[in-house]
Symmetry: C2
């Protein structure tokens, strides 16, 4: 019997646990899940005979050591910043490791040692990153195999609400960490390359430089630029590609409305508001508008919005931004924290709401003298609030990868991404059985 040790049983681990337990009998696995909350683990394992619920502090090396030692494979669903120390233990104990998170430079630096130890440390094998890599690389390799030349690659992904739950004027609800949504695109200037020209978009322009994306059956979306598209050239073996761009998807119209928050300064996370505890939403908004006598906050705000092409403030009214009757009640809060609190109350998923994951790749390439275009798109809907689209699209690829490793089907060694056919082919194939299906449209242009 092989032991899988799963560190962390949070939101995104639900489908992963379900998948591993479903496969446990057939493969003769035992799934040992550790989290600080034993109740949480127990509820997710649901008395499955192959599941063992554990509770200790996985961040403490002494507490985790024995479990690591006895495992055949370790899956870390801990916050990304903890993966490195787990990886170092795995190296010392000669254990394979899977994480869904971005590879850090420090993790990458372990590559030679991991390879020499004949181990697999698989990373970026959730959805974004994860399914994006695998589905894109399958197309990249297929074009290259035909001796085609890829001249453009644009890729978009977004976590949204399912059409049936798309019931508010913003066409958006929080299906993932609200703080990350409020801070989206901050910190680094967006960088990409367009027909050999490097392009830079500062934070305050990101939400007004949009691509329009249509997904059949799901309507119109818009994509805003991710921070770093350039590093994907190397990851995908497309170092000389003239155009590469990665973006995040929202329903059309969202970005223009969101842009107002950025322009006003409401997403700023760098300073503490004076007396934030006693601010009402209206006070908060007014603090970012100039003082003007004999003009309402609504009128001042509308004047401001008009500069950015927004002529209707009903979306903001719906959020309660002009409400003066209730205090926000956050002590020593930044503008971003106050805005998050206001949004969370309105953009919360209802008990019956389902989320939706949308991914779109667009390739332009030259083949046999023709200029060709492929659009490959995938939409995944959540089943409920446990097996969300997010949980499924993260959990299945991690789970399938675990199976591949335990069945010795992966020959590559080192600190890896899922960019090789021996990894992406079996995973993408099995994902289809779980409803993660890409639709391809191909044409000469």
């Amino acid at each position: 019997m092989k032991r899988i040790l799963l560190l962390g049983a949070g939101l995104s681990a639900s489908t992963l646990i379900k998948y591993l337990l479903e496969q446990a009998d057939e493969n003769n696995w035992q799934l040992r899940v550790v989290d600080r909350s034993l109740d949480l683990v127990k509820s997710k394992l649901a008395d499955h005979p192959k599941g063992v619920a554990l509770s200790f502090n996985a961040l403490d090396r002494n507490e985790r050591w024995e479990e690591l030692q006895q495992a055949d494979l370790i899956i870390s669903m801990l916050p990304a910043r903890f993966h490195l120390e787990i990886a170092k233990d795995c190296l010392e104990l000669k254990k394979n490791l899977i994480t869904p998170s971005y590879v850090s430079p420090e993790m990458n630096a372990l590559h030679d040692q991991v390879k020499d130890a004949d181990l697999i440390f698989m990373n970026e094998i959730g959805v974004d990153p994860g399914i994006d890599h695998m589905s894109a690389m399958r197309i990249v390799d297929s074009i290259k195999d035909q001796d085609g030349e890829i001249i453009g690659f644009k890729s978009y992904c977004g976590g949204l609400v399912a059409p049936e739950s798309d019931t508010n004027p913003w066409n958006y609800k929080f299906t993932w960490n609200p703080r990350n949504v409020v801070l989206a695109a901050q910190g680094d200037t967006a960088r990409y390359i367009d027909r050999h020209q490097y392009k830079y978009i500062p934070y305050t322009q990101v939400f007004s430089r949009l691509d329009n994306i249509s997904v059949e059956g799901y309507g119109e979306f818009e994509g805003y630029a991710n921070r770093d598209s350039l590093s994907y050239r190397h990851i995908y073996g497309l170092d000389e590609i003239p155009t590469i761009y990665r973006g995040t998807l929202r329903k059309s119209g969202f970005c223009k409305s969101w842009n107002i928050f950025i322009q006003l300064g409401l997403t700023d996370d760098s300073f503490i508001l004076q007396d934030s505890e006693n601010l009402t939403p209206r006070n908060f908004l007014n603090a970012f508008l100039p003082f003007e006598e004999e003009i309402t906050v609504e009128a001042k705000f509308l004047n401001f919005c008009r500069k950015w092409g927004v002529d209707d403030i009903s979306r903001y009214q719906w959020l309660g931004l002009f409400d003066d009757s209730v205090k926000i009640g956050l002590k020593d809060a930044t503008p971003a924290q106050v805005l998050e609190k206001i949004l969370v109350e309105k953009w919360v998923l209802g008990p019956q709401d389902k989320d939706m994951l949308v991914m779109v790749h667009q390739f332009t390439y030259l083949l046999n003298g023709e200029r060709r275009f492929i659009e490959s798109s995938m939409v995944n809907l959540g089943d409920d609030q446990i097996h969300t689209a997010m949980s499924k699209t993260v959990g299945y690829p991690v789970g399938i990868c675990a199976k591949l490793i335990l069945q010795d089907q992966i020959t590559e060694r080192g600190v890896l991404l899922p960019t090789k056919p021996e990894i992406y082919n079996p995973i993408l194939d099995e994902l289809e059985a779980h409803g993660v299906v890409f639709q391809e449209l191909e044409k000469v242009i």
Copy 2:
């Protein structure tokens, strides 16, 4: 004979050295000036019998120790970050100290020790900070002495070019550190209070929320908000004041044009441009504009400018921003560094150019049932490129303060700012003789 030790003989020390030497005979002083460049010191002392040129590394404690020990007063014109270690030496050696720089929290923490040692560490005694404190506090104290209630204080200062040297379309040349001008208003959101309402202006709005300021004989200016106006409430003893605002002055129209650079991202100092060495100004600009075929960079840029109310790109053409014939040649440069290089070539002071320092205070107050207004303004013009307005308005107050300390005319002790009458009155009075004169306009409103 009393020894004055001056650390640093850079640009802003020229007038200070001249003043101290002029006063040396009468007061029986010896002025000892240390800088890394002995030639620089010698040229500034010009063989004056009371001047001693020294060259050693003032940042090295061992090298400076003996000179500090033998001095009666130390003046540090070193970069602000070095003042603290000089201050600690002064405390140990029981020497008085003057710096023109902002008091750091670490410097402030020495207050009790300095006071107990019966010493004076005078800070913020240049122009901004310095003359601004003194001239404002004289008015604050005068209103309070009459039992008036100050309800509004706005204060503006700007380093500009003298009218006779105001010869380019931007009405601006670099009279101070160009890097600080390019990065102006970055980092912290501007904060002030307006009729009891706290107001916040994010970086990207600062140059479009302007106050108009007229200075008789010098035309129209505009003021943009400084980062932190709120801390001045406490410094000036105006903790409950409903309105306080500090701004930086530019000639009218400058900020609207500068704003375009900010909106595009050209002032970003947080990342390195790809292949910056080989960029021309035109490539650099184009990298921040979207890719569009069959439209010139000029047309794209003009489209962008129009969103911010700029309909004429001649100022940018004058800067050479569309030039494609010459490489900028900066390796691994940030956008802000590239922009600075382009600007420095055009905004350089010519050999005959003179600079100009403008300071304006506006007080609103209640007195005897009347609502009154005082505007106090000062314009100082540079004599030449050595005794610039900047050098004079920094050097004279430091020099006069040195005299007051050596003549035992200051009774206050500790880490000080020049906010008390015993300090600001003699300094402001003597400054008038050196051409630093405030014009006051007072009226009932």
